[in-house]
Amino acid sequence: MGNFITTILYESPYLWAFTSVALCMALSVVGSAWGIWTIGASTLGVSIHKGRLETRNLVSVLFCEALSIYGIIVSIIMTTKAQSQTCDPISAGDYLVGYQLMAAGLISGCGNLFAGLTLGIVGKGMAVCAAAVSSLFVKMLIVLIFAEVLGLYGMIVALILAKDEFGIVCSV
């Protein structure tokens, strides 16, 4: 077991960096998709009655989509950073960058995942309630904005980590 941990720890920092890119993108997409399917099913249901009015719920889908855009921004920035750190031999600075990117990816990915779940459930409730009481729609948008901001916080921290120029530059 100790050998296994040691092997993992001394793996190339590329493992950390690119795993995190994958996680960031994947988790963001999962969160976004979760939100979209939840909102979409309910929007379709209420649109049968007052189609033109109730398709305003598609703005909730827009919020969910923004989460995957945050994910892709962070992923692209992380990819360029990871690919620019080609050092041979691998130094401590590279490990630092690898770990930073791992943290950035997880932060952004998980933030978008849970923001997406929230947006889904709230947006679904909003679709149904706004069909009954029309004035609730604008008020519920505030809840959606707060949920969206969760993903934004994740992206901010991830970008700070990913673009951190204080990291030790390759010492070759």
Binding site: W34, W37, T38, A41, S42, T43, L44, G45, V46, I48, H49, K50, E54, L117, G120, I121, K124, G125, A127, V128, A131, A132
Partner: protein, 391 residues
């Protein structure tokens, strides 16, 4: 979203074997439900995958119920044509457009039921598995009513075609016409009901070997069928678990208690013995088992009132009615039912919504028919006595 219902006959028989006292978390709800034959409804995160569309469709129907304004407008109508005109301005639209001019209240009632059945069939045709069986269970109640209607009519030598017209469309099944030729319970089961989902329910009445053409006997059969149905439905809802189980047990408990009280009150003055009466009480409900024992021993309305008085909500119902008011117990029950169903209608992530929708639509049809009756008989002052505001 194509309907994927299995044969409902096996579903109801199988569900009578479920014996889950507590909720079993075997992972069938939500994502992996499709891997099992009997999925459960999803929880908070996964409900929308299968049933989100239909839930939103039904909840979007909330604004389509007649509101207080509409009832006020209807109350000042002078004739059924006025009623038709006012209804055309609500969500009912032109549903009476093709009817010939001297309208009858039975026409209005039939058209209302037809409109409701169309909506129900739309929901049912889009439902996937656990919801499909759930909606079928709602239909079994109507099936039982239809079966009793046809049997009673046959005993009074009514014409079969006329009887079948009076049946509720939600409870029709293919072999219902051959019910008129049944002369005993076992014939009833073996020739007709064994192919229907309510077959297992008649097994509980099989000991009733005499099937004499007698109003009371047929009522006894109806009550026993309904008791078996309620218990089966409750078992199924407990199996579904989650929010569905919680809310449906509340609604079905009230239904069972209402039937127990009504059976007791209706059996005073008939030859129905107390033991026979006790076999007709469903074994669920807030009154079960303590109140039911007292009900079985009751001899008059006062003792019935005492028997249910340990439940606050029923005590309040009995307080509302009395010699001073014109409200009957039935009206009080209807009002309470509307309250319960209204709160169930607003819940998320459960199937109680669909059951509540059916019950509330029924109440609305009752309201409209009452208004039509009052208007056609010129007794408009009585309209607000029995019209229960739904939303």
């Amino acid at each position: 979203m194509a309907g994927k219902g299995g044969s409902s006959g096996t579903s109801s028989a199988v569900s009578m074997l479920y014996d889950s006292g507590e909720e079993v978390d075997d992972g069938r709800s939500g994502f992996y439900g499709f891997m099992y034959g009997d999925p459960k409804p999803g929880n908070l995160l996964s409900f929308n995958i299968e049933d989100g569309f239909l839930e939103a469709f039904v909840r979007g129907n909330r604004t389509k119920f007649l509101n207080a304004n509409d009832y006020t407008n209807l109350a000042v109508c002078d004739s059924l044509d006025d009623v038709k005109m006012h209804l055309a301005q609500t969500e009912y639209g032109d549903f009476l457009a093709n009817e010939p001019s001297p309208l009858a209240t039975t026409t209005i009632k039939d058209k209302c039921i037809e409109k409701f059945v169309n909506e129900f069939n739309y929901i049912r045709s889009n439902a996937t598995e656990p919801l499909f069986t759930f909606l079928d269970y709602i239909r079994y109640g109507y099936m039982i009513d239809n079966v009793i209607l046809v049997i009673t009519g046959a005993l009074h030598q009514r014409d079969t075609a006329e009887l079948l017209e009076r049946c509720h469309p939600l409870g029709m099944f293919r072999t219902i016409g051959s019910l008129t030729t049944c002369r005993s319970i076992s014939e009833l089961y073996k020739h007709v009901l064994v192919d229907t989902p309510i077959g297992p329910y008649i097994l509980q009445c099989m000991s009733e070997q005499d099937f004499d053409p007698d109003e009371q006997n047929v009522e006894v059969i109806r009550n026993k069928l309904y008791k078996a149905y309620l218990e089966d439905f409750n078992r199924f809802c407990q199996y579904l678990g989650g929010a569905t189980a919680e809310l449906m047990s509340e609604l079905l408990n009230f239904e069972a208690d209402r039937r127990s009280i009504t059976i007791t009150l209706n059996s005073f003055g008939t030859e129905l013995g107390k033991d026979d009466r006790a076999t007709m009480y469903p074994s669920l409900g807030l009154l079960h088992p303590a109140g039911v024992i007292k009900l079985a021993r009751a001899d008059d309305a006062e003792q019935v009132r005492e028997a249910v008085s340990h439940i606050l909500s029923y005590r309040k119902l009995f307080l509302d009615i009395g010699p001073g008011t014109e409200k009957s117990l039935e009206d009080a029950f209807f009002e309470y039912e509307v309250e319960l169903n209204r709160s169930a209608f607003d819940t998320q992530m459960g199937y109680a919504l669909f059951y509540a929708y059916v019950k509330l639509k029924e109440q609305e049809i009752r309201n409209v028919v009452w208004v039509a009756e009052c208007v056609s008989q010129g007794q408009k002052s009585k309209i607000h006595d029995a019209v229960i505001q739904i939303f």
